[in-house]
Symmetry: C2
Subunit: 333 residues, 2 copies
């Protein structure tokens, strides 16, 4: 990142190159470098300027950044984001089920709820205690099966208190959830994104070393259109798409067993194809799952559909090829 170091008169001028024109941590990094150099400059003034990387530099930087770890130590194996662009298609449910299935396989799993203004994660996991501070940062809150969680709603005194923040504060909160939480060693950290392609999505895709994105859609063409926007954004920012999950694909009538396509016929395969990715699986609407989510017991839910989706995601990440985290995970079942 150090582009140039020059002596101009009695000043030391350092130019840093950043990967994106307006990354939210630029100022912090520049300050840090300035203070570090001032410590050894014997009173000579230090100035730090910023420039943008070219495409080649950025690619090299991002490759390096993949191994970047949070300030608070610990090793995080894979960082996945669950994204949609569209709201209410089940990002949090998919995040919760994926975390649960991975945990069942013995992995150490964490979840960042990046939906700062509409957080669902604490409610579906039934976790309500406030996080406490540990020696290396704030400790995430453990779910019943041991999934580590961090969400804005864990920090609010009342769960329906609104967080009326403009973008910069939203971004800052997400960065802190990444960098200032003592995650410890994790095999998977899953980031549950809010709808939209604005501040939260930008911050997560630009500032976090994502290994891949799981897209979630519903059968409506309307949802598909908005999900394509999110996919195109991810591709622009060079984050690999793992695949598409279609939620709410149908419901089975509890009386007569008829399969009802609630939102018309599924278009998920076409949507996935248009985005250059694959359909990982379909999840039906299951009233039982809704009730478990509302009562904070998502970890009790078992469904073959999601087991298969999880296994497909694990395979596509080629987990076995990666070095296992310290205190290694159990083998895949």
């Amino acid at each position: 990142m150090v582009q140039a170091v020059e002596i101009e008169g009695d000043r030391i001028c350092i130019t840093l190159a950043f990967p994106f024109p307006e990354g939210p941590i630029q100022e912090k990094v520049a300050q840090f470098v300035q203070q570090a150099v001032e410590k050894v400059s014997n009173g000579v003034a230090v100035e730090v300027g910023a420039t943008e990387m070219n495409t080649k530099q950025r690619a090299a930087f991002l490759a390096l950044a993949k191994d970047m770890q949070p300030i608070s130590g610990g090793h995080i194996g894979m960082v996945l984001a669950v994204m949609s662009g569209k709201g209410g298609v089940g990002k949090s449910t998919v995040t919760g089920l994926l975390a649960t299935e991975l945990r069942r396989r013995g992995f150490r799993v964490g979840v960042i709820d990046a939906d700062i203004t509409g957080p669902s994660i604490p409610k579906i996991f039934g976790v309500h205690q406030a996080p406490i501070a540990g020696p290396r940062g704030i400790l995430p809150v453990k779910s019943r099966t041991g999934i580590e969680l961090m969400s804005m709603n864990l920090l609010l005194p009342v769960e329906d208190r609104p967080v009326v923040w403009r973008g910069p504060l939203i971004s800052r909160a997400i960065e802190q959830f990444w960098g200032e939480i003592a995650w410890g060693d994790l095999d998977f950290l899953i980031v549950d994104l809010p709808p939209g392609t604005s501040d939260a999505a930008l911050t997560v895709t630009q500032s976090l070393p994502l290994d891949g994105i799981v897209l979630v859609t519903s059968p409506q063409d309307l949802a598909g259109m908005v999900v394509r926007k999110a996919a195109i954004m991810a591709q622009h920012l060079r984050v690999p798409l793992i695949g598409l999950v279609e939620n709410m694909s149908h419901i089975v009538c509890p009386e007569c067993g008829t399969r009802i396509n609630l939102f018309g016929a599924s278009r998920a395969e076409v949507t996935a194809g248009a985005m250059g990715t694959t359909l990982i699986g379909r999840i039906p609407i299951d009233t039982h799952l809704s009730i478990l989510c509302d009562s904070g017991a998502i970890e009790e839910y078992r469904a073959n559909e999601f087991k298969e989706i999880t296994e497909t995601i694990i395979r596509s990440l080629d987990i076995k090829a990666r070095e296992p985290a310290v205190g290694a995970s159990l083998p895949l079942s």
Copy 2:
């Protein structure tokens, strides 16, 4: 808004009071005042400072602002926002159906799609032509039944192109949709909000002279919690709540006629009560409506549930008591 005018040495110092600490148009207003005074100050320097109104001043200012009209002229009768906090509960569907029902009653209706990153309005109305410029500003695009529409997606060359903008640009776009579109005379302007209580919601509730908010929720307790956040935000900003619409309340099996409560039992009445507002109505999931929305024909949909909701909203706004807009609307059916 003019708090003080002082002469300090050879400068004229003007202090303006703004209703909110960080309204997005403050700088513009200050600049405008500075330039206007400079024109008549005979070369004397003019400085414009800003301060915040106290509660009393703000209430008086907001009462005045209710009569504020867009720059582009025309008279707008009622400005309503459809809000939820939660995504995917059907804000755009409710917006579209409300606009359609009002139009059927002869009202002149406009819709601002304030969901800049995930706009649905053009798709559900089947409107795809780009807006053109008129003598007083950009003209909204007319739907088949004559509803005036403005949406980010009408301005994009391809509908699935993502709009990857941080908050300030999102807010600016919404302000332009209000102030720089030649809406002409309207009885109702309905603003379809995106999920969340961040930039878009803040800009709409702070910068637009809203007459009321229609809240939309789904039967899930999870949705209810996030909708309560939005309601509390609206109450903090002193925008009246018209009531709550519960969407996706159930589905009727097309084979055996069983009424299936998809997301468990409805909690809408409790949710409405907790927010100090009333439940206006419930809408079932109707596959036919989904298909009409996907094919851009929402205006063809007719359902008694929504007719009643519209009439309740009209009654609660006490329309008859208001002066009719120029070229008056047809009487209520």
